[in-house]
């Protein structure tokens, strides 16, 4: 076994440490990544595939990325780019034909199911608007962080989010409209 440094760390030792670090990260973050991937793709099969590919690319870049102290941002960016590139390559949506909902969909009893109707509309948004919506309103990232992940300007994030909200309001059922909400009160 080749000794790399005078500290006694061998390549094999380093690989074991590296894999252990990666595995710890993966185990800790996988559920969260899967949830984000689900919101980006709209079904669990594609979400799991997206997470696996994204983690694989993260694994290949692990030495490079972990020094940046922003692994979460990096893997999110891989995931969004990968999802967008798959969309561009024209096969992801074909698999959407077999969309299935999560195992335990929850209807919020306090909003009489209005929010689940929103999800239906979210799934019709263009991919970039949808990514902005997921990162901004699910991941609760700042506009600057969303811009970094998507590789677009903050101004575009703002306009995409605004347009997505306008679409949601326009296409969502009447019960989501402000006037209706006021009347309910």
């Amino acid at each position: 076994m080749q000794t790399l440094t005078g500290t006694g760390v061998t390549m094999g030792d380093r690989a074991q440490v590296r894999d252990a670090e990666f595995e710890a990260y993966m185990q800790a973050r996988q559920p969260s990544l899967l949830r984000t991937a689900y919101l980006l793709t709209g079904n669990r099969h594609n979400a799991e595939d997206l997470v696996q590919t994204s983690l694989a690319k993260l694994y290949l870049a692990w030495d490079k990325v972990q020094d940046r102290g922003s692994v979460d941002g990096y893997v999110r960016r891989i995931m969004v780019n990968e999802n967008n590139s798959l969309w561009r390559r024209g096969w992801k949506k074909r698999e959407h034909a077999s969309d299935t909902l999560p195992e335990h969909p929850v209807v919020d009893e306090y909003d009489e199911g209005r929010s689940s109707q929103l999800w239906e509309v979210v799934q019709t948004l263009p991919r970039k608007q949808r990514a902005v919506v997921v990162l901004r309103y699910y991941e609760q990232l700042t506009e600057a962080e969303v811009a970094e992940i998507l590789g677009i300007s903050v101004g575009t994030v703002k306009s995409q989010a605004s347009r997505a909200l306008a679409t949601l309001r326009g296409r969502a059922p009447e019960s989501l409209h402000p006037r209706h909400s006021e009347e309910e009160r």
Partner: protein
């Protein structure tokens, strides 16, 4: 404060959580991930081995829409003999520090302050416009506003002239004498071709409401290459011909760009389930199905304005932007120049566009430093604007949407 807006945002956030908070699944093991990583690495190595000489033209069977090309990727790839001897490849290490300052960019670029025109410098412009094409025929501009999916005519001093229309895509010839976009109205789409110099010149092709038609480029000034994407994401492509007919381009995954000088089309031919894939260049005058050359080592971007070269990069988007950029001979696929970074480097190239027949300009990003760089076909690399220390995550410079193909 818009309380209705806030209410919707809160409801949206809650709904997104509701959809996934109880999402179950089979946890991936380290072996699952390293196995997928191994496939990616193996495909990269195979592709690099075949493509490194870059003097070869690679021909593989073209995948069809019915499949994802997985089987094709497993078939042996046979390099075709190159008619010419390999030429010397210009190899340059990417850096953003210590670069010589070159002339200002020869194409317009956008900043948060407006658009910077090669002749006039900075001009104030609504930042929502992300493409700007001069229209000498009426003394104004054609502008695209992607967030609103609209195209507008602007006056010479960038004031909206009305008549904005819902549109998809914008393609221009390299000299920007011709533009094409899709106008959408209820129940129908029209693929439009307009001359920017002659208000009388133009064509229109009518399509049904679906699949969604979007122009990609030109194989001649009166022949528009377009993609048509249906609700399920299936892509078909064709050439809108001057006699009103359409020439189908069957059996491809997607069209990346087109070149009106040599009449060639850059396309993606296969895609694998690990997101790797192959690309190639099609000459529809020779065949509408068989590329004249193909590579599994690159994804392809825009052709140079003279059609001699085509931009290329890694077939994988790894989240950092382009970490390498190559220039290939568009006729053979031969590597002409490559710009790669050191292993420890964190430079990303964003939105590379052709500035001239022998130079590309791109946004260079390293940490919070952003600048514009010029990458020459001869391997030269120079800085062309004063670098900016941008806020984290905010892309300060960008190029017109019709020019960018990566």
């Amino acid at each position: 404060m818009n309380t209705h807006h806030d209410e919707l945002e809160q409801l949206l956030g809650r709904q997104l959580h509701d959809q996934v908070d109880h999402l179950g699944g089979h946890p991936l093991s380290l072996g699952d991930v390293t196995g997928r990583a191994g496939r990616i690495r193996r495909n990269r190595r195979i592709a690099a081995g075949l493509g490194s000489a870059a003097a070869v033209a690679i021909i593989v069977p073209v995948a069809v829409f019915a499949g994802r090309g997985v089987d094709d990727a497993d078939r042996p790839i046979e390099p075709a003999p190159s008619p010419d001897a390999p030429t010397e490849v210009a190899r340059t290490t990417l850096t953003l520090t210590g670069l010589e300052r070159g002339d200002a960019p020869g194409v317009e670029y956008f900043t948060p302050d407006g658009v910077v025109l090669p002749e006039d410098g900075l001009r104030r412009l609504d930042p929502s416009y992300q493409a700007l094409v001069p229209s000498p025929a009426d003394g104004g501009w054609i502008a695209v506003d992607p967030p609103r999916d609209s195209l507008s005519y602007l006056s010479e001093d960038f004031q909206p002239q009305g008549g904005s229309s819902k549109t998809a895509g914008l393609a221009t010839t390299p000299d920007r004498a011709w533009v094409s976009w899709t106008a959408t109205e209820a129940g129908a789409q029209t693929l439009l071709l307009h001359s920017t110099t002659d208000p009388e010149a133009g064509m229109a092709w009518d399509f049904p409401e679906l699949p969604e038609v979007s122009p990609v480029g030109f194989v001649a000034e009166d022949r528009v290459v377009f993609e048509a994407t249906d609700r399920k994401g299936s892509v078909e492509a064709g050439i809108a011909e001057p006699d009103g007919s359409v020439t189908p381009l069957p059996g491809l995954v997607g069209v990346m760009s087109a070149d009106p000088v040599e009449g060639r089309i850059a396309l993606q031919t296969t895609v694998n389930d690990d997101a790797s894939g192959c690309s190639g260049v099609l000459d529809p005058a020779v065949s509408t199905t068989e590329p004249i050359w193909e590579t599994c080592d690159h994804s392809l971007g825009a052709f140079s304005p003279d059609g001699r070269y085509v931009m290329a990069s890694s077939p994988y988007g790894d989240g950092l932007g382009l970490t390498r950029l190559e220039i290939l001979d568009a006729g053979t696929g031969e590597l002409v120049a490559e710009f790669t970074q050191r292993r420890s480097s964190q430079i990303a190239l964003v939105m590379p566009v052709w500035e001239s027949a022998d130079a590309i300009v791109a946004v260079g990003v390293e940490g919070e430093t952003q600048t514009l760089v010029r990458l020459g076909v001869d391997g030269t690399l120079e800085e062309v604007v004063e670098p900016m220390q941008g806020e984290f995550g905010d892309l300060y410079f960008y190029f017109g949407e019709d020019r960018t193909r990566f």
